[in-house]
């Protein structure tokens, strides 16, 4: 029970990061972006490339930061991955979403995002191969927190959780304390009114994509670190991430953060009642439950 809860919190942290970026994009551009989870894949794979590169350039960097399996190279690679993922998010918007948007076909953007997701996912499969990869081949032993009941935790998981909580705090401070945070919320509430007040809409959209890409890259690397990297990360995570945004209420950043943890914990606790084969369905059941009881999510407001 406690082990499942703990695992759920760790998965939840990763989903939170993904859902936060997604909910911002969905709130501002008003479409369900099915390609968001592919940004996690892009993040995970670009970190993999840079990790190898840095290790080969400077062998010193291959030493692990004890007790983690993470190396200095991977930390630097993560920064590079954030850059690449943010840039690709902006590029996709420029190449596809903005053009579809300007044609006034808002609903078509959902189709476009699906098409883009297919292209990205399979292009990654073609470039890196369909087999799974890992950042580090070394086995990191889990630390035993308690023997009865048996609770195991890996140092990497704790580091992931700590970094996620730190990022959430930073995000909170930015949104609630800075002019930029106000501008972001203003644009999401009412784009035209925000523009009248001198907020540059185009720039805000770019910033939202960069932010979404940054969070997605981190989530992707953490996912790869705690599980494994394969081309179908996006396919496997898209529904849980969407479920997190719905649980929190689409458009609510704090809701998405909380929703991520709710989905992660629920999916792990469900293993105790349902056979584990059914776990891919859990996010959908959660969506149905939320729509039945609180259609606008925990924090969402009604908007047509």
């Amino acid at each position: 029970m406690i082990q499942h809860l703990l695992d759920g919190i760790l998965v939840g942290a990763i989903l939170s990061l993904g859902a936060t970026g997604l909910t911002m994009v969905m709130h501002m551009l008003r479409f369900a972006n099915f390609s968001h989870a592919e940004l996690l894949s892009i993040g995970a794979y670009s970190a993999l490339v840079f990790d190898q590169l840095f290790k080969n350039l400077l062998p010193v960097m291959a030493t692990q930061i004890v007790p983690l399996s993470m190396t200095c190279a991977l930390v630097l690679a993560m920064v590079a991955a954030i850059g690449i993922t943010g840039a690709s998010a902006v590029l996709f918007d420029k190449l596809i979403f903005r053009r579809v948007r300007e044609k006034g076909e808002e609903l078509s953007m959902v189709f476009a995002s699906f098409g883009l997701a297919l292209i990205i996912r399979n292009a990654i499969g073609l470039i890196f191969g369909l087999q799974t990869k890992l950042y580090s081949q070394d086995i990191v032993f889990a630390t035993v927190l308690s023997r009865d009941p048996l609770i195991l935790v890996k140092p990497d998981q704790l580091a992931t959780l700590a970094i996620t909580l730190m990022i959430i705090l930073i995000l909170h401070l930015i949104l609630s304390r800075t002019t930029f945070g106000y501008a972001l919320r203003a644009v999401a509430e009412n784009p035209s009114l925000a523009q009248v007040n001198g907020i540059n809409l185009q720039r805000m959209i770019i910033i939202v994509w960069v932010l979404g890409g940054t969070l997605a890259a981190l989530a992707g690397v953490f996912y790869g670190l705690n599980n494994q990297i394969n081309p179908v990360i996006g396919r496997d995570l898209v529904l849980p991430i969407f479920a997190a945004t719905i649980v929190g209420g689409i458009g609510s950043i704090y809701g998405a953060l909380l929703g991520g943890f709710v989905v992660g914990i629920a999916a792990n606790l469900a293993v105790m009642i349902l056979p584990s084969g059914y776990s891919p369905s859990v996010p959908f059941l959660l969506i149905l439950l939320v729509l039945l009881m609180r259609p606008n999510g925990l924090f969402g407001e009604e908007r047509a």
């Binding site: 579809v100 076909e105 297919l118 292209i119 969407f242 259609p295």
Partner: protein, 313 residues
């Protein structure tokens, strides 16, 4: 020669079945603006429903009711209707993202359920041993396939005529009114939530019909038949053909299915052996490019929707 003809019969049968599903999607997306991210779930509900109701008894498994075929097919369509109704009633009064996400979710959950629930759909092995209607009279040969193709074509034409009538009726005008301006429609006393639900369920029933025919044709269905790929293919067919135009939907179905099978054949024939593993990836990228490319350069499709003024002056 007979080989070519029987292949053509096979190809036309599958393409016509898919065209029926595309027509169902056209009612939802093309005419009403409802995004269905889980076409395959309703298609699959029809397929599984038909085989469970009409198939022979299986050990430790639901089904084996051995209903006469038309009833089994109707039962499959009813299964699709029920599923659409549940999803629709929960999501259609909310903003449109919810429908997109929930329908996508229902497809994931459906495939997952069928893969795991041995008692329901035979698990990963699927449902086997279905006796195709009239098989004892006609056998499994060429004559049967020709007759089956004719039945599918008749159903395709009936679906097409039904939808053409529906779209031209006052109900069809309501659909377009809601798609274009929901507030205006509501101010005229229309109830968007009800009308949307009716369109969503009707479209899903048509997809269920397609699914039932598909399962009958192969006399077999398994979780492999209800993968998200099919949803993407059906979208691509509608987007290429022209959303809002039923003739375009049928045209798109034949074009995309031809392109899909041709690309699959070409890749398996000409791609080097070590790349064979990746032919699927190539095909998905092609489908993705078709969807995105059409949306960017010809969003109205090959045959655009024809807007009609029903009462002038």
């Amino acid at each position: 020669m007979i080989g070519v003809i029987s292949y053509l019969v096979f190809f036309t049968t599958v393409a016509s079945i898919l065209a029926i599903a595309v027509l169902g999607l056209n009612l939802q997306w093309g005419n009403t603006g409802l995004f269905n991210g889980g076409v395959v779930a309703f298609f699959g509900a029809g397929a599984y429903g038909t085989l469970i109701l009409g198939g022979p008894p299986q050990d430790g498994q639901l089904g084996g009711y051995g209903l006469i075929y038309p009833l089994a097919l109707l039962g499959g369509m009813a299964t699709a209707a029920l599923m659409a109704w549940v999803v629709g009633i929960l999501t259609l009064r909310l903003r449109h993202d919810y429908l997109a996400i929930s329908t996508f979710g229902v497809a994931v959950a459906f495939e997952n359920l069928m893969r795991n629930a041995q008692w329901l759909g035979g698990g990963a092995q699927g449902i086997r041993g279905f006796e195709r209607p009239l098989r004892s009279a006609l056998g499994d040969g060429f004559a049967y396939n020709i007759l089956f193709l004719l039945c599918v074509l008749i159903l395709l034409i009936l679906t097409y005529l039904f939808l053409q009538t529906l779209v031209a009726s006052p109900f069809g005008r309501q659909l377009r009114a809601i798609r274009e301006d929901e507030t205006a429609a509501r101010s005229l006393g229309k109830s968007p939530a009800h009308i949307r639900l009716a369109a969503f369920v009707t479209g899903s029933v048509i997809m269920g019909l397609a699914g039932g025919l598909y399962a009958t044709f192969y006399a077999f269905v398994s979780p492999q038949d209800v993968l998200p790929t099919l949803t993407f293919q059906i979208w691509a067919m509608l987007i290429v053909g022209g959303a809002g135009n039923n003739r375009g939907a049928v045209l798109g179905a034949f074009l995309i299915w031809a392109a899909w099978t041709a690309s699959g054949w070409a890749l398996s024939r000409f791609a080097p052996v070590e790349a064979q593993l990746y032919t699927g990836s190539f095909q998905y990228i092609l489908i993705g490019l078709v969807i995105v490319g059409m949306l960017l350069w010809r969003p109205q499709g090959l045959l655009p929707e024809r807007l009609v003024v029903s009462q002038s002056g």
